[in-house]
Structure formats: structure tokens, C-alpha cells
């Protein structure tokens, strides 16, 4: 990694000298060449294209070696470090090049020990998995959420790596994401596991559900193991309610078992426990205390909604459902031109208005609205952008009407 930085460092006087830039290189599934060989070519590529503005992705190369072996090269997560969009001189940055192969296999299931048992005890993904590719990018939050989580887990693993005495400094390897439904907590956990596997170029695994046999998965010290516990409140409902007499004693035993398991697992240096919850108040305090990072994931802001819509429309243009292609401006670009309406900004301003009135909808709902818009109001194999935005606007109104009806019924 260091020699890579040295290679490209030519003008150390620039102020983004110490800026860390991550470059993710997706190696083609059938490519067998060595990482070092790819790295050389990537460095030459980055030397030729020295300046990027924010994230950038190459999928076509003039170098036949890259064409044959590499699916894409992406400068990623620059917005996590830089608040303002500005030119980045790659030759002055500290470059981290991560070369990875995706695992195409889906999750494997782990059944309970008993004969002919069809109860699935765990799902198990080998990371980085094709299933989670692009998930991280699709999640839109305020800057800090993603970078905090990345930094937190990186520090966790650093401490383990350096054998920091856990009696003197205690850290639990437990992350709790909480917030309303549909805000992408589970997706964020999966994306985070994928991201870290790529970043730390470890091999990684993501295991859901199972607790009992988890030790077997942890045994391999070189593999990073992410344990995802969805809706953790179901396992660790507050013991207080037991004292109030409303919780059966079985539930107490479950809470105690889970807590004990977590205490055992956290001794392993290569484990990170990711948990999510919709109802934070119900979680047992003993568990909440064990979580080092408690991150609230709220419904998306207007700016985030705008970004989500933009990515949806981009995808539909790519698939030529929205045709012909129209250049849409980002919020920042709109801001720069002072929200003046002209031929270039017109559609983007319409989208901004739709984003504004969509406020209050969750990410899960937002991502399906373009589909509903097409199904309910478009129905043709391709449609112009203006017409599609109209449909999208209608479907947002309908969404709120339905909500109102539902709450009336209740």
C-alpha cells in the first residue's frame, strides 16, 4: 500500500496530501491474475486520470489487461471525508487500492442438528458477496453515519490486532442500529460487513440468526466474522417487564442466554456483532450497555430523498425505461445556480419538489415508488422523463392518501 502512495506522490505540498482515498477494484469472476499485476495497471490508470471530482467509476479501459481482468475500478466514499465537492488530485493522496473477487454463491443455510430438521438455524454468506454489491452506495444517510460506523469497526479491529488489554480498555464489538422501520438498518449492517471485508482485504463471513454454534465459525482467526442479529428486541425484551409480571420466565432465560453468549463471543478478536432494532425502549438495558455504538437511523431528509430518487431515475435511464436520457442536476448543482429555472434545471427542480413532499416516507417505500409510478400511471415500455416525474408525483400523493386512510381505519 505504501509503495503505491510513494509512486503517486509527486507534489507533497498540496493540502490534500494526507487525504486517504480508497479505490475498489472489482476483479472479473474468471480472472486468475495476481493482485500485484492488477495493482500495477491500476496505478498506471490512476496516473493517467489524475483528477477526479468526488466518487468516480471506470468500467471501460483502453488497457486490454484491465479489460480482460477487471470489471470496474471505483474511487469511493470521497464524500465521507470531504464535505465540499472539490477536485481531488490522486497523485497527492494516500491511495488504498482494494482488489476483490465477488462470491456468486447465495447464502448457505445451517440447519439444526436433529435429523431431517428443516428449521433453519442460520444463514451464512461468504463475503464479499455478489448479493450485497452496490448496497453500500444505495444507502443514503448524513455523512457521519457511514463514516462513523466504518471508523468504529476499524478501530475495534485495530485494538484487537494490537492486543490491547480488554480489562484495561473495554470494548464490546457490538453495534446497535435503531430507528423506525424501512430506514435501511439491516441493509446497512450487510453493506458494512461487505465494505469492511473489502477494505481490510480479509476474507469475511456474515452469519445471521444462530448463536449456538457460532464458535465453529469464529475458529478461523484470519476470517472476519460478522454476526447479524435482526430485531434484537425480540431476543432481549426488557427484563423489567418480567418484574412487572408481563413477561414469561422463558423470555428471561433467553435474554440471559443471549447476554452470556455475547460476553463469550466478544473475546474473539475477529468478531463484530451487528444488531438492529425498531423499538429501542423495549431492549434490555444490560444489552444496550454492551453496545459500544448506538446509532439512530432516522427517516431520510429531503436531500437524502432527492439523492435516492436520482439514483432510481439513473437506473431507469440505464435500462432505457426512461428514454431519452436526460441530464439531471444534483442538489448542490441546483444550489450553485441559485435554483433558477431554465431548460437545464427544469426537471431537476420538479424532482426537488417531489422530494420535498415525500418527506416522512421511509427509504424502503421510496425505493419502490418508481416501480409503482410505472405500474399505475405509465405502463409503456419507455417513457420520457417529464412524464415519468409526473407519475412519480402522483404516486407520492397516493401514498399519503393511503396512509391517511389506514390511520382512519385504526
Amino acid at each position: 500500500m505504501d509503495e503505491a502512495a510513494d509512486d503517486l506522490k509527486q507534489d507533497p505540498l498540496n493540502d490534500c496530501e494526507s487525504l486517504q482515498i480508497h479505490v475498489e477494484v472489482h476483479q472479473k469472476p474468471n480472472s486468475t491474475v495476481k493482485k500485484e499485476d492488477i495493482k500495477g495497471s491500476i496505478l498506471r490508470l490512476l496516473n493517467r486520470h489524475n483528477i477526479v471530482f468526488g466518487d468516480y467509476k471506470w468500467t471501460e479501459f483502453d488497457d486490454t489487461f484491465l479489460t480482460n481482468n477487471v470489471q470496474s475500478v471505483a474511487v469511493v466514499d470521497t464524500e465521507l471525508k470531504l464535505k465540499e465537492r472539490q477536485p481531488i488530485y490522486l497523485s497527492d493522496c494516500n491511495l488504498f487500492i482494494h482488489i476483490f473477487h465477488l462470491n456468486e454463491e447465495g447464502p448457505s443455510t445451517e440447519n439444526l442438528e436433529e435429523e431431517n430438521e428443516n428449521i433453519i438455524a442460520a444463514n451464512h454468506w461468504v463475503l464479499p458477496a455478489a448479493e450485497f454489491h452496490g448496497l453500500w452506495e444505495s444507502l443514503v444517510y448524513e455523512h457521519e453515519v457511514k463514516s462513523d460506523l466504518l471508523d468504529y469497526v476499524t478501530t475495534t479491529l485495530l485494538f484487537s490486532d494490537r492486543n490491547v488489554n480488554s480489562n484495561l480498555i473495554s470494548w464490546n464489538r457490538v453495534v446497535l442500529l435503531h430507528g423506525p422501520p424501512g430506514t435501511g438498518k439491516t441493509s446497512l449492517c450487510k453493506a458494512l460487513a461487505q465494505k469492511l471485508t473489502i477494505r481490510l482485504s480479509h476474507s469475511g463471513k456474515l452469519v445471521t440468526k444462530m448463536f449456538q454454534k457460532i464458535h465453529e465459525f469464529i475458529d478461523d482467526k484470519d476470517t472476519l466474522v460478522f454476526v447479524l442479529i435482526d430485531e434484537v428486541e425480540s431476543l432481549t425484551a426488557a427484563r423489567n417487564s418480567f418484574r412487572a409480571g408481563t413477561e414469561p420466565s422463558d423470555a428471561i432465560r433467553v435474554v440471559n442466554a443471549v447476554l452470556t453468549q455475547i460476553d463469550q463471543i466478544k473475546r474473539f478478536p475477529n468478531v463484530v456483532i451487528l444488531t438492529t432494532s425498531n423499538i429501542t425502549e423495549k431492549i434490555d438495558m444490560a444489552f444496550v450497555d454492551r453496545a459500544d455504538i448506538k446509532q439512530y437511523i432516522g427517516p431520510p431528509s429531503t436531500a437524502a430523498i432527492f439523492k435516492i430518487y436520482l439514483s432510481c431515475l439513473e437506473e431507469l435511464m440505464k435500462c432505457q425505461i426512461i428514454y431519452p436520457r436526460q441530464q439531471l442536476l444534483t442538489l448542490r448543482e441546483l444550489e450553485v445556480i441559485g435554483y433558477v429555472e431554465n431548460d437545464v434545471s427544469k426537471l431537476s427542480l420538479v424532482l426537488k419538489e417531489i422530494a420535498r413532499k415525500s418527506e416522512g416516507l421511509s427509504g424502503r417505500v421510496l425505493r419502490k415508488l418508481p416501480f409503482l409510478a410505472h405500474a399505475l400511471y405509465v405502463q409503456t415500455p419507455n417513457v420520457a422523463m417529464a412524464a415519468f416525474l409526473q407519475a412519480l408525483s402522483l404516486v407520492v400523493d397516493k401514498q399519503f392518501e393511503e396512509r391517511a386512510k389506514l390511520s382512519d381505519c385504526v
Binding site: P29, N30, T32, S108, E115, S203, E216, D219, D220
Partner: protein, 251 residues
Amino acid sequence: MTVALAPPALTPTAGGAVSVSVAFPGLVTREGCFHFTCEFLKHVLYQRQQLPLPYEQLACFSQRQLLATPRQDEDVIRKVYASDPDNNKKCQQVLGDLERLFQHLEIMFSLTLVPRVLILLGGTAVSPKELYEINLQGISLGGTKESLQTAACVRKLFHSLFLADVFSDLRAVPTLGVIVMVQGHRNCGIDWFRPKLNYKVPARGRKLTVNLSCSDHGGATLSSNAEVNFALNDYIWFQAPVTVKGFRYFS
């Protein structure tokens, strides 16, 4: 040619891992290595209850069924097992998958030296329930003329397995997915198998290793072969893109 039968060496090691060593008294061919792998895979599938009949019987039986010329002695089996269209479909699927696997294994063995092969039962490639390894690093390759007959070597392999009695005390398992991993040269040009550049042989699960080697011969072994040693890190793991799903007549 006769093959001398040396007593098989059965070495139990830590963590439930067992190994069987088989030394062939001479050189073997590349094609021979492919056959050892194939036959061992068929054997494992039947012994670990992933196939209801030994592969050859199942293949033969199913083919006759396709040709629809029932013979008297098969009537009973037909009635009991194969009348169920679901069974028949599963059987065809397994046989088809295996046939393709064998075809491509043969190509693989012709393109590159293969130091090791893994047969993984259950779980994923990185954490299988059971792991069977064929280690060919002690093998010395020769041309057809100077090598031992493959059939005799296969007999010796099975004789050793039989004497070592490695399958009898294993617990019954449900039907599982079977993954095959093959080590080969990075530039061998095989396109059916998927390269797994970061793959490490898992430590989890039960393990049986079959070490094949050649004794009293003039040639060099695979592991002392200059080509392999020169660039051992040029030998990478490839995963077969099919997961063979075991099946049973009664489930």
C-alpha cells in the same frame, strides 16, 4: 501388471482428521489421476448417503429407464423407487451435474498439474461439515507406456480405503450440497471452474485426507517437480460452478 499391496497407513491426527496413504509402485498418468479423483468422489457420494445407489448402478439404471426397456429383475426396484416422478427428476439432475463435473475435471487434469482436490459436504466452501481431500503432491507422472495401469491403481486405492475402514463409524447425514474444489495453475486457461484466489482450506468439520504417492520410480514427484515448486503460489483453487445436491429415494 500386478500391484503389490502394502498395508495401508492410517494416521489419525488431531481434531477428528484422518488420513490414508496410498503408494503406487511406479509412475501414473495424468489421466490416471483424473480417474482416482472421479472414483473417489463417486465413492464418497455413495458412502456418505448422498446417492441411494453406487454411481455406476444409478447411471446404468437411469439410462435403461430412459430407453424404456424394463427387465424382469428391475421391476421391483422400478415400482418401489422410480415410480415417483419427483425421484426420477432429482436423479436425472444429480447424474447430469456429475457427468458435467467429470467432463470438466478431465479437461482440468489435461490442462494443468493438480496437486490437490477437495470434496466438501454441506455448509459452504469455507465451512463445510465434512471435508475429503485427495493429495496428489507425492505422485510422479509418466507417459502411458511407462506408467502403471490405471485400473490396477484404482483397485489399490480402494483396497487401502477398505482396509482403513474410514467410512463405517461415521454418523448418518441428511442430503447435503457437495462442492468440489480443484487446485490448478493460474494460467491453465480452464473457464468452467471459478477461480477462488483467496480460498483457504477450511479447518472446520471432519476431515479425511487421501495421500497418493509413487514409490520406486525414476521420475520426480509432483511436489518436487521444478515447475510446481518454482511457483507454488501460481497454483490456485478453482471451484466447480455446480453444487451437486445429494438425493434419496425416501426422504
